[in-house]
């Protein structure tokens, strides 16, 4: 399924921006990846599984902030980074450092309970750390309610702090004059773009002010977080369905709580169509209320995840091709894709903001034409 995502994702971008080169490279990728699968040798297989595991691990959240890890000659894993607090709700609040979990290698004992992390999730185990599996190889152990400050939560905090400092100082720089200084010079056009080209045309001059804070925050948050995802820090906030769900849920709540009578009228009793049609349309429109934010959350999640998978697969290919042609080709491809990802980072933030504004606009639109 991941390859399909990548496929689709590429064709999407290519069509919008007419990047013929990407198209050509894309043909290469598919050819190579098929070639890769057909001639699987034993040695290559090891690297492939390792890469696959690495990608899977990269896409997952983790309980500590590890920048990179390597394996010593004696087989010992060394992680470079710092631990984060684990917060569990399991018959009372349990807070302990993630260094106790040792990346799933040991069992952490807290207040008489034993916990072990397995594939990025914490399970309650016995003292030996036994994890039982069902037939689909899913652990059947109890999962305690997990409110840990994971890597992603930590990143969200840092991004929030960063945004607060950035825009706070920008706001302060207005006090000394009409023009912003420093960062503000770069940020102000973007803020104005969101106001003049996203909020006002979609929501209308009368109501847009109410939504500006949300739109600005969500745009810059998604953008910064997407960009951070491209850095070698290995933080991928927006490829968590929980994050995009939270963002889309906010859009959903704001849309429906600020909606006026005419909006609900158009959903339950569409004016201007025959009575029978109104009855048919009502459930469709009602479903639409939920589909709209759902598509928002899936779009952001899928675009970012697909981008990461494709990019990392291509980087991984460098190690699979043991000749210089293949490796340099994957390097070029990875470079081109990284540039594309930079664009996608902004584009997805833009689309999320744009569509949120569109939904808000529908909610407050005044239909006096019928």
């Amino acid at each position: 399924m991941h390859r399909f995502l990548g496929h689709y994702y590429l064709s999407d971008m290519q069509n919008i921006f007419s990047l013929k080169t990407i198209c050509l490279l894309f043909v290469f990728v598919t050819t190579f990846s098929f070639a890769k699968e057909t001639k699987a040798e034993a040695g290559e297989n090891d690297i492939k599984t390792e890469i696959k595991e690495y990608i899977d691990h990269h896409l997952l959240d983790s309980y500590d902030f590890s920048l990179f890890s390597y394996t010593k000659d004696n087989g010992e894993h060394v992680y470079v980074g710092f631990p984060l607090p684990v917060i569990l709700w399991d018959d009372g609040l349990k807070v302990f450092s993630s260094s106790k979990l040792k990346h799933g290698e040991t069992v952490a004992e807290v207040g008489g309970n034993y916990y072990k992390s397995y594939h990025g999730k914490i399970y309650k185990t016995d003292a030996e750390g036994t994890i039982t599996y069902d037939e689909a190889h899913h652990p059947t152990n109890v999962k305690p309610l997990d409110f840990s400050i994971t890597k992603n939560v930590f990143t969200i905090l840092i991004v929030g702090l960063l945004m607060f400092l950035m825009f706070g100082s920008m706001a302060k720089s207005y006090k000394n004059g009409a023009l912003p200084k420093g960062m503000g010079r770069f940020l102000e056009p973007i803020v104005l773009y969101i106001r003049d080209d996203i909020a006002i045309p979609n929501i209308g001059k009368k109501h847009y002010k109410r939504y500006m804070s949300f739109l600005l925050t969500i745009f810059f948050f998604i953008w910064i977080v997407n960009l951070l995802g491209l850095t070698p820090l290995g933080v991928n906030v927006t490829n968590n369905i929980a994050v995009t769900l939270a963002l889309a849920l906010l859009t959903f709540l704001i849309t429906n709580f600020t909606a006026n009578k005419s909006y609900w009228g158009h959903i339950f009793w569409m004016p201007g169509v025959p009575k029978l049609m109104r009855i048919v349309l009502a459930p469709i429109e009602l479903l639409g209320i939920f589909i709209k934010p759902f598509s928002l959350l899936i779009r952001l999640y899928a675009n970012i995840t697909a981008g990461h998978i494709v990019l990392m697969s291509i980087i991984g290919m460098m190690f699979i091709f043991k000749n210089w042609i293949g490796s340099s080709l994957s390097f070029g491809l990875a470079f081109a894709l990284s540039l594309l990802e930079l664009l996608v980072a902004a584009l997805q933030a833009y689309i999320f903001t744009m569509l949120s504004a569109l939904y808000f606009g529908q909610a407050v639109e005044e239909h006096d034409d019928h």
Binding site: L60, D61, I87, K121, H138, L145, D146, F147, S148, I149, T150, N152, V153, I156, L157, G160, M163, F164, F167, G168, M170, A171, K172, Y174, A178, L179, P180, G184, E188, V191, L192, R195, K209, M212, S213, F214, L216, T217, F221, N240, I241, A242, V243, L245, A246, L247, L249, L250
Partner: protein
């Protein structure tokens, strides 16, 4: 789908929601509101300045038109004044000429009258002189004539003859 649901982390969702809502409210208070207000103030300031400039331009144009008009008026006035002066001059000259003419005429008349008077006086004197002279002559002649009786008789007789004839 199943994988997605498995991957879903309630903790991350919770934190994301809480942190993001907090971020929206904090940024609204400390960043977006001041920024947007400042931008709006600036924009309205620019708009006002532009309007003021436009007004000033219009005013300037009006002023210029006024100046032009005033200048025109002044020029016209000067022209009129000059014309009046010229007319006045002509009239004055004409008047003076007329006056001089009249005075001259009068003087000539007076002179003529004086001359006439003198002439008359002279004539009268002359007449008197002539009369006296003639009387004296006549007296002398008469004295001469009437010195003898005969001559007197003769005269009376001739005179009588004349008188009879008359």
């Amino acid at each position: 789908m199943e994988k997605l649901i498995n991957e879903f982390s309630i903790g991350l969702f919770f934190w994301m929601l809480v942190l993001f809502v907090a971020l929206v409210f904090l940024l609204r208070k400390f960043a977006w509101k001041p920024i947007l207000d400042a931008v709006e103030t600036r924009e309205s300031g620019i708009e006002n300045a532009l309007k003021a400039a436009e007004n000033a331009k219009l005013e300037m144009q009006n002023l210029q038109a006024d100046n032009e008009r005033l200048l025109q008026e002044a020029r016209a006035e000067r022209e009129a004044m000059l014309k009046d002066a010229r007319e006045l001059k002509a009239k004055m000259i004409a008047d003076a000429e007329e006056d001089a003419q009249a005075k001259a005429n009068k003087m000539i008349e007076q002179a003529q009258a004086a001359i006439e008077g003198e002439k008359k006086a002279a004539m009268a004197e002359l007449k008197n002189h002539v009369a006296t002279l003639s009387l004296e002559i006549a007296e002398k002649v008469v004295r001469d004539e009437l010195s003898s009786k005969d001559k007197q008789m003769e005269l009376v007789e001739s005179m009588l003859v004349d008188a009879k004839l008359n």
